[in-house]
Amino acid sequence: MKTTKQAPTPWWSGPVGALLLCSALLMCAVVTIFVLLIDRQRDIRDSIREDSLWAAYQLDREAGRLRLLLTDVGPVPTAEQVDMLRLRGDILLSRMDYISTGEFPDTFQSCDQCPALLAAVTSEIPHVEQAFADLHQASEDDLAALNTLLAGINRSTAELVVLANAVRTELLVQDRAEIASLRTTLAAAVMALAAAMAGIIAMLVRQLAANARARAGLSALSEDLRTAARKAEAANEAKSRFLAVVSHELRTPLTAILGMADLLGQASLHAPHDRHLSILSHSGRRLLALVNDILDYSRLQAPDPRLMHTPFEPRRLVASALEEARAGQTSDSARLLLEVSPDVPMALMGDPDRLRQVLLNLVANALKFAADGTTIVRMSWRGSNLTVRVEDDGCGISPQEAERLFEPFSQGDNSATRQFGGTGLGLSISRRLVVLMGGTLDIDLDRDNGACFWFTVPLKIAASTGASALPEPLGHPLPGPARQPLRILLAEDNDSTRLLVTTVLRQWGHDVTEATNGAEALDLAQKQTFHVILMDLQMPVMDGSEAIRRIQALDGAAARTPVILLTADLLSPEGLAAGHGVTVQATVSKPVDWNLLRETISAAAGTAPLPHGTMPAASPQAGPCEVAPILDQAALRKLIGAFGDDVTHRLLTSVIDRLATVSASVTAAAADGDQEALSRAAHSLKGMCLQFGLPRLADMARQVQEAAADGDPIPVPIDTLASEAVQGGKALADFLDHMTAVPAAQTAG
């Protein structure tokens, strides 16, 4: 759908433009009128003249007066009368001169008859002059002629006066009309200007109103957006919580299923049960993979899935990923080769778990689809980007298939899904992860056979790796006994899970104390000391984080005990822990990766791998954190070496029996308060333990013996000693069983 983009209208078009134009025109008009008015002023100044009507009137009057005087004079005037007449004649002549020479532009020029009349008057001037010059010798007839002359002049002047008056009034009216019209024009112009101004003001008001409306609209919109954002956030939170709950719920039974399957795997099963177990285990793992993938995918859809940022070693990472992939492959004929470029740095900063996940996905895919061929993994480094290419020579991928590959739940060819299994989410998740890291994941199609998946991520070089909790290359699904037995407090509410973990831990030779909730864990932590605490998070009565907080608030060594979280929650446990104000050493998610758990426990306890042959019980400073292991395998093997299997077997069997007895006597002596008896019993116990590879029990017995001998209070609770003895017996029994099952392997030492 194309939307036509309108060219922005210029600001001067439309109603505003029209009004501006009007105002401009009106301003021009007003200016013009002003100019006209000023011009008129000048005209008026120029038109200041002597009044022509008055001049005409005076002339007329003078002529009449002179005629009157002439008649009074009589036929023969006296000298005096002649002088007077001459004076009056001069006056008349002066008036006549004035009429002819003065400037009378408007009045006399605008009347048609006036010029003729004027001419008539002025033409008589010389006659009048002559007449008055000869006055002293004028006869009666001359006087009569003068009178007639004057009468003629009078008639002209009378008419002149009337005409002048008429013209004058006309001019007056004209002037007034001109001014009136000018005033009207000006008034009209001013009105129009006012109208234009009013129009502009109206437009302004409208604009302001529109602005106010727009502002209101904007604020309403922003309010709506805020609400929408809040709703989205709430929805997201709800989804996250849902995921957490779902993940926990789904994974908990899966943990049990897989764990039990693993345990069953320890027993030797006959056909067809072994095959049944294999299918059970396989299906369980597939289900787990599916659940993980789905939950992972959902989590990655969130706007801000958190990635870790820790140092890791890329070589170790890729090697371990490859090991795991190789272990998971079904066919033995596939070849997997690794080529790491020398300029790849030793340590990088990133999210090793996620990188491993991507690697595993790509390599597993390659192995799956190129089961009979060779898969080469190349890791290289250029321009602070880490690039990994996974090339296989398998069935290859067509360009159309490649399009759909990265979409969820597709594996190129639907038939492949059925053939090879898998969730179809792997590539989609991998790509999303790589993109989150700021990189690219894609497929190289221009190859003759097979496919090449590659990804490249920008990473920073890390200063050092520090302690990494990476699992070692896989050996057996369940590793053998731990290097150094530890006292472990396990808090887990789920019975099956607890049983499982305890069993495994005990298999590793650790001493496990169980708690079913946080309150019990806290209680036990107060009473006893442990090397490591394994804490589940969601438990009744008191949950894991609360328990950890309380334990870490205790005085003494309990607070310093490292805590490992065992949780099925997919939410970032670091975040959870930090949010509750506790520090955990590490987190192992359920279902438990036993290798990971083992390494994590070792790392948490800070126990370095003991070299073979060392007798840790000989250490004099055996503090609470440096407790000797339960079983000294080396010593026992020495026994075997010395006495052979059968004899050792019998010996150990009797030891187990006697252990119970001696332990009972120790308990009795302690109960009686008989220090001496206690000392002797403990001594006896100690000797036996030292002899038969129970260093921890031996150490405990020694402490009890020394304390009893000196009369000091017993540092080790007798119950603990008793249970320790039981543990020791069990360990020996286990050892015996183990010895019987794989006799040849034990000599490997």
């Binding site: 002597e50 002066s94 020479t101």
Partner: protein, 171 residues
Amino acid sequence: MRPRVPFPILMIALAWLSFTPAHAESPLPPPEGTVILTISGAIEHTNGQGVARFDRAMLDALPGRKADVETPWLKERAVFEGPLTAALLDAVGAHGSRLRIEALNDYVAYIPIDEARSLDIILANRLNGEPLSVRDRGPLFVIYPFDQDPSLYNEAVFSRSVWQIRAIVVE
């Protein structure tokens, strides 16, 4: 025609006149030539019959000025010359509020004494150096100082610019 004054009295009067200042309480000298202007009314100094009569010579003796002006009565620019009205008023000791100026044809106009004293109005009796004849609107013509103040050039002033002056009455 006046009665002839006896010679001795005339001698005494002339002698008295020659030894006293011309202004203040002394009466004006009588005119010798033709009287062209008669000033009457509220005046201090007279020279016969309760009025002050002036001939051309007496007027010429008064301080005056030349006004080179454009007038509506003549086509060209002209130089009018004559005594200042202020000087005339001082000469007669006028103490009224206005002057009633009468012309030979009985035309009358009024000039306020303040205006007569404050502006350099002259009673012109010469035009371009020549004495002003009656036909030329003489013998005396009120000429306002248009050259000094162009705003005087209007019809109201024209109507006060009396020509062919016969007499002035100080009211």
